[in-house]
């Protein structure tokens, strides 16, 4: 709850609130009786004396008593509410109710309701979870909620965000490796190599060589120049340029490009390096959910995944 920046406003609001409620009470009290003129026979007049449209008169018929009683009750309710709940300036109410507490309660309720189910999956091996149609459906919904913003609804990523539906993995595609990636996050770091390689021409040659590794069109002369320069890169990308999942170094000999495979893009990557982050979801989602999620992600690139028909029956 946002507090006022000084005490004055707290009292200002509280006093106005209390006075308004008291004012309602005073108004009710003072207006519950009124003076009427007496007729010649000593009885109170039946009408207020107002006449409209020639013959439309206003009677003095009293209102039902339960009506004013309800008004008093509403004033009592307001007083009780302001004692129990926040509402009077910065006063927090004796019950200590607030939005955060409400949210935590709902979270606890949801945990109590769905916890057992997730516990049950957590005991299972990731591949077994992947084979379970219900877990698959849950995983899909979790993925659409938490992962699709970057990796896309179909998990195929986009520029700078890895494709999770193919069999090409920066940090390893084993179920446990995927779970670790989601739990702890990853940091992808390609250092800027422009200075180490030398001139822009050298960078271009290496870029052509790298393209040639994936069978893309490349200038054979530049490839020949670039090949020896590539020695600087093998530390991470390996002598066979197949990458290294321990370091998160990508395979340069396949058709997958995280940032794009054009000469200009590859040159930019070499010259300036790349830094990329997969955030850690362990604390945020909790291990049970990550477990189900990892199984789902693994199943995307593994043919044992349930068929669409079983998905349909699981999607409730």
């Amino acid at each position: 709850m946002a507090d006022f920046f000084n005490d004055f406003w707290h009292y200002y609001v509280a006093v106005i609130t209390i006075l308004s409620i008291a004012g309602c009470g005073i108004l009710l009290w003072s207006q519950s009786k009124f003076k009427v003129r007496l007729d010649a026979d000593g009885k109170p007049q039946q009408t207020t004396g107002h006449v409209w449209d020639e013959d439309l008169t206003e009677l003095n018929t009293p209102m039902p008593r339960w009506w004013i009683v309800m008004f008093w009750l509403s004033i009592l309710f307001a007083a009780a509410y302001l004692v129990l709940y926040p509402g009077l300036g910065a006063f927090r109410g004796t019950l200590g109710w607030n939005q955060v507490g409400e949210y935590q309660d709902e979270l606890q309720q949801a945990k109590a309701e769905y916890g057992p189910l997730f516990e049950q999956y957590k005991k299972l091996d990731l591949k077994a979870v992947a084979a379970d149609p219900q877990a698959h459906a849950i995983g899909e919904r979790l993925f659409l909620t938490y992962c699709s913003q970057c990796h896309g609804s179909d998990a195929r990523g986009s520029k700078g965000f890895p494709n999770l539906a193919d069999s090409d993995w920066l940090h390893g595609g084993a179920p446990d490796a995927i779970k670790t990636s989601i739990m702890n996050g990853r940091t992808g770091m390609m250092p800027p190599m422009g200075a180490a390689l030398g001139s822009d021409k050298d960078v271009e040659s290496v870029a052509h060589y790298v393209r040639s590794l994936s069978g893309l069109s490349a200038d054979p002369i530049k490839v020949a120049f670039g090949k020896p320069k590539f020695a600087t890169c093998v530390a991470c990308h390996g002598a066979d340029s197949k990458g290294n999942t321990m370091l998160g170094a990508p395979n340069l000999a396949d058709k997958t490009w995280l940032y794009g495979g054009s000469v200009e893009t590859v040159m930019e990557t070499i010259r300036k390096g790349r830094t990329n982050t997969m955030p850690a979801f362990g604390d945020f989602l909790g291990e049970e959910k990550v477990h189900v999620l990892a199984a789902y992600v693994w199943s995307l690139s593994n043919p044992t995944a349930p068929t669409d028909a079983t998905k349909a029956t699981a999607a409730k």
């Binding site: 519950s32 003076k35 000593g42 009293p62 209102m63 039902p64 669409d308």
Partner: protein, 469 residues
């Protein structure tokens, strides 16, 4: 303030007074029979409907938890909310029409407040006896007889109210399992609350508040009065015929004289009135048009050998200009009534047509906002969408997604998607175009979802396809 004579000229009056009890006398007659027919009709419907089953479910169920309204053979989703608006508009126009023609007949015959009050009054008469006994019981001090009768009455009222509350909640939670839960003391907190709340409302409104709901709370009562005109049928006392009243008080052994009117001042019309007014004072806002006084007066007129209809349904103009029944009926077809009727017929027809042509498939397309569009190998461009497929029919559907709008546009792996009855599914869909197709930037495309078994069943929705510049 006193006047010269010394008597006070002003007095302090309280603005609020306790309710004076009304003990409506039981009445039989044409309109009372009609009212009871309405009670039976509406309550058979209300208490009976939740027990009907069809398609393996409750026929009428407003399932708030899953946000689906089952109504006979139809399932309404939140997207169909427009039909609720249409229904309310139809009801409003129905009320306008009926009120313009015949005043507050809704209040007098079909309103739940009237209907339940009638039922509660019947219970009251069965336990405490007729009007005179009720008044005597109210006056006498508390003793065993009074405690017994009052206790029995409130118990009976409470049971009817509880059953009403249970039935009401049965429209929102399956009534059979609800009954089972009550039998097993396994009722959820909200169900308990609503059953008790609705029961209390029934008991309070029909047992205690009665005419006060119509007089002080009901909004319809206020705006119905605004829809009257001089040709609206209202319950009227024929003053020209009835006055001066022939009271035949004691000591005045006055035979019916030619100069006295037909009203014998028996006050039966006041005794039967559920709102406790005297209709002979003219039309008052408390009058709910129930015609109990018409029945009462007709009985008396029969007894004193005078023609019926001293109190009758007539119009202001009819009384003023001495119009016959035929002329009054002819004036029913005035512009106001004709316009209301036309609008009502048009609305009902439009709603019926719309319901008949309702598409059971619904589709929302949400473009993935994370990516502008990606280049896949060989330079083709791909966009990703999330399709929210909603199958509002009660049969499972096999659906196939297709796309058009850009030459060469196609859905990748366009296999059939199974969606169960009355469920919704989110499906990621990839759309691919050939290199060079489409213009850089945003292109309009249209998704079509078609049922595999029934090609006539389809729904389309537009979307944007983004080609990277």
């Amino acid at each position: 303030m006193t006047d010269p004579a010394g008597a006070p000229r002003e007095a302090i009056v309280r603005m609020y007074a306790a309710r004076e009890d009304i003990f409506p006398r039981e009445i039989k007659g044409r309109y009372a029979t009609l009212r009871w027919a309405c009670v039976w009709l509406t309550q058979l419907l209300f208490y009976g409907l939740p027990w009907l089953n069809m398609n393996g479910r409750q026929a009428v169920l407003f399932d708030l938890a899953s946000r689906k309204f089952f109504l006979a053979g139809m399932v309404f989703w939140p997207q169909d909310f427009i039909y609720l608006a249409a229904l309310l508009i139809v009801c409003a126009y129905g009320l306008f029409l009926v009120t313009a023609v015949a005043g507050r007949v809704w209040c007098g015959f079909a309103c739940p407040q009237t209907v339940y009050t009638e039922i509660f009054l019947w219970i009251e008469r069965k336990i405490e006896g007729p009007r005179s006994s009720q008044m005597r019981l109210a006056r006498q001090p508390w003793n065993l007889e009074k405690v017994g009768k009052r206790g029995a009455k409130h118990l009976a009222w409470g049971l009817v109210a509880l059953w009403t509350g249970f039935t009401f909640v049965g429209y929102f939670a399956p009534i059979r399992s609800l009954g089972g839960e009550i039998a097993a003391f396994g009722l959820g907190p909200w169900e308990t609350f609503w059953i008790l709340f609705y029961s209390f409302a029934t008991y309070g409104n029909a047992g205690w508040l009665r005419e006060q709901v119509c007089k002080y709370m009901c909004p319809y009562a206020r705006f119905q009065s605004a829809m009257f005109d001089k040709d609206t049928l209202i319950v009227t006392y024929d003053e020209a015929r009835g006055e001066p009243r022939n009271g035949r008080r004691k000591g005045e052994a006055k035979a019916y004289a030619a100069e006295s009117g037909d009203c014998i001042d028996c006050s039966l019309c006041v005794q039967v009135c559920p709102t406790g007014i005297d209709i002979r004072k003219g039309l008052q806002y408390e009058c709910i048009g129930c015609a109990a006084c018409v029945d009462a007066c007709n009985i008396v007129m029969d007894k004193v050998k005078k023609p019926r209809g001293l109190i009758r349904y007539a119009t202001e103009n009819g009384l003023l200009r001495k119009l016959g029944a035929r002329e009054i009926r002819r004036r029913m077809l005035r512009p106001r009534v004709l316009v209301y009727s036309a609008v009502l017929v048009a609305l009902v027809a439009a709603m019926g047509t719309s319901l008949a042509l309702r598409n059971p498939l619904k589709l929302d397309v949400i473009r993935d906002r994370g990516s502008m569009g990606r280049e896949v190998d060989d330079g083709r461009i791909e966009n990703v969408y999330r399709l929210q497929l909603m199958n509002t029919s009660e049969q499972a559907q096999l659906l196939r997604v297709s796309v058009r709008g850009i030459p060469s546009a196609a859905v990748v792996d366009d296999g059939a998607i199974a969606v169960d009855g009355a469920t919704t599914r989110a499906v990621p869909v990839r759309v691919r175009i050939d290199p060079g197709a489409g213009t850089p930037g945003s292109n309009r495309i249209e998704f079509t979802v078609r049922s595999v078994d029934d090609p006539d069943l389809s729904v389309s929705e537009g979307a944007a396809f983004i080609v990277p510049k």
